[in-house]
């Protein structure tokens, strides 16, 4: 075992994994995290704790992760390259591991211009691929990025990375995934999939390159309860592909919430049949209470014993 995390155990046992997302609050109230944790505790194999997503200031992912852990959840600490240099990142990686965090997800991070502090100076000392390589070096080579030895208690983290099948150019997306795997990624979570056809194209290229057998791929899925949410994401969220048919299907539904759940269940059904898909990553933005409902109806509960 590289980390001994539950997520690692589920994936290496060949079980279909389920992770979800928990966005920390824009204040210091732990109760908000505990409330959100209540919806998914015991029902998922890991929960992503976002790191100031969309460049909006929130409680730190380490602190929020530890609070989530106290509710029985296994956190997947997200870490972006926008706000910290390699010194601060390695320091936080040691701290997170010291606090019991066993999974990390490495990302570049949305540009600060998209957030609530566009006047900030960004860092990007290293990029997401270099971050993956750094965490792997700390864990497997027992060395800091500089080569200095970590003499004992190296941080043992299960390393995740992201892939966006909908950003351009497609050919480079697959090359970049290969680089992330080469750098040390153990699992991949994808951008939310709404456009199943384009996702299929990407998956085909990924399997052609044999990458699906080198890394566990979890498909990102976002249930929505109104067509307006889709329209908002279409025009405001970077790197999304949302087919118009999906928007009109949501718009014409009598019970939009139920329709949103149905769409998500259909997606789960489809991706489970795809070659090289090891699990799903649910991101019900602002609708955390739907997570257990969807998992129950998809037949993904109870989670396997590992």
């Amino acid at each position: 075992m590289k980390s001994g995390s539950r997520l690692e155990k589920v994936l290496t046992a060949g079980k279909f994994a389920v992770t979800c997302e928990l966005g920390p609050p824009k204040n210091s109230n732990p109760q908000i995290i505990k409330k959100k944790a209540g919806y998914c505790a015991g029902k998922v194999d890991g929960v992503n704790i976002t790191d100031n997503q969309t460049a909006i200031v929130r409680m730190s992912s380490i602190a929020s992760g530890v609070i989530a852990m106290s509710c029985g959840l296994e956190p997947i600490m997200q870490m972006v390259c926008r706000d910290r240099n390699r010194i601060a990142m390695q320091s936080d990686i040691l701290g997170a591991a010291g606090l019991g965090i066993r999974n990390i997800l490495c990302l570049s991070g949305d540009h600060q211009k998209l957030g609530n502090h566009p006047e900030a100076k960004n860092v990007f000392d290293i990029d997401s691929i270099q971050l993956i390589a750094m965490v792997r070096k700390m864990r497997d080579d027992k060395q800091f990025l500089s080569g200095d030895p970590i003499k004992e208690h190296e941080p043992r983290l299960f390393i995740g990375a992201v892939a966006n099948p909908f950003a351009g150019p497609l050919e480079l997306r697959v090359m970049r995934l290969a680089k992330k795997i080469q750098a040390g990624a153990d699992f991949i979570q994808t951008q939310c999939v709404f456009d199943i056809d384009r996702f299929g194209e990407w998956t085909e290229l990924v399997t052609e390159a044999g990458l699906h057998s080198k890394v566990y791929i979890l498909v990102g899925l976002t249930p929505v309860r109104s067509h307006k949410a889709l329209l908002y994401m279409k025009s405001n969220v970077a790197g999304m592909s949302i087919p118009n048919e999906l928007v009109s299907r949501m718009e014409s539904a009598n019970d939009a919430g139920e329709e949103g759940v149905k769409i998500c269940l259909e997606m789960i059904e489809k991706v489970r049949k795809m070659e090289g898909i090891a699990g799903i990553h649910l991101m019900p933005i602002g609708w955390e209470s739907i997570t257990p409902v969807i998992l129950e109806r998809a037949g993904l509960l109870p989670r396997p014993e590992v």
Partner: protein, 220 residues
């Protein structure tokens, strides 16, 4: 005035790889003063390459390689020798390399690292930018600089926000990595990007280096 330093010859030979016929192009402007360009550097580089078993298919000295008009006009006289070359080795600053890459449909390798803008900006007449990072990566990226043009200075390809060739920060701005992809693809050099670019040594571009510009030396 842009300050440049020669890349080690080993690094240059590594970049040239299997390429046999090399066209040498040197800048006679700032690079001449820094001794990374000019006639002398051109002669030295020609000797070094031939010693390493390369064939120099032609050479040209241009006053300002950052000026695409000058480059294009001068190279028009070298069409034949340029045609024979597998690639171009440019003895110039980061802006010069980018300008040449825009003019020539060949791989353009940088022979120098740009370490400082020397406090005098705006000398170059076009849209190419150099951040004087001191570890020129233009060889890897086909002559388009991700340090200057990617909003996140990414070295290993585009972030997830690149869509329809545009940057997530501004829909009217090209994604630098889309441009890099297009350029490398047209040169048949996309494989460049399969290699992981390691964490950069930012020491080469710290303010200390900027403050130690060799302005006085150049004035003498």
């Amino acid at each position: 005035m842009l300050y440049t330093e020669n890349k080690p010859i080993e690094e240059i030979l590594d970049c040239l790889g299997e390429e046999k016929n090399i066209f040498l192009l040197a800048c006679n402007g700032c690079a001449d003063i820094c001794e990374t360009g000019g006639q002398q550097a051109l002669t030295t580089m020609k000797r070094e390459l031939e010693k390493a078993g390369k064939n120099v298919s032609g050479t040209a000295l241009v006053d300002f390689l950052c000026d695409k008009m000058l480059v294009a006009t001068r190279l028009a006289r070298e069409a034949k020798n340029l045609q024979k070359a597998d690639s171009v080795l440019a003895l110039t600053c980061g802006i010069g390399v980018q300008a040449v890459a825009k003019v020539v449909e060949k791989v353009v390798h940088p022979a120098a690292n740009t370490v400082s803008l020397g406090g005098l900006h705006g000398l170059w007449p076009a849209e190419e930018l150099c951040r004087a990072c001191g570890e020129c990566v233009l060889d890897y990226t086909g002559g388009i600089c991700p340090i200057a043009f990617c909003a996140k200075n990414l070295l290993n390809g585009p972030c997830g926000g690149s869509q329809d060739g545009k940057c997530e920060v501004d829909k009217d701005t090209d994604c630098a990595w889309q441009l890099i992809y297009d350029r490398l693809k047209s040169l048949g050099k996309l494989d460049n990007l399969a290699r992981i670019a390691e964490a950069k040594d930012w020491q080469q571009s710290t303010s200390l280096e900027q403050r130690k510009t060799k302005f006085t030396k150049a004035m003498l």
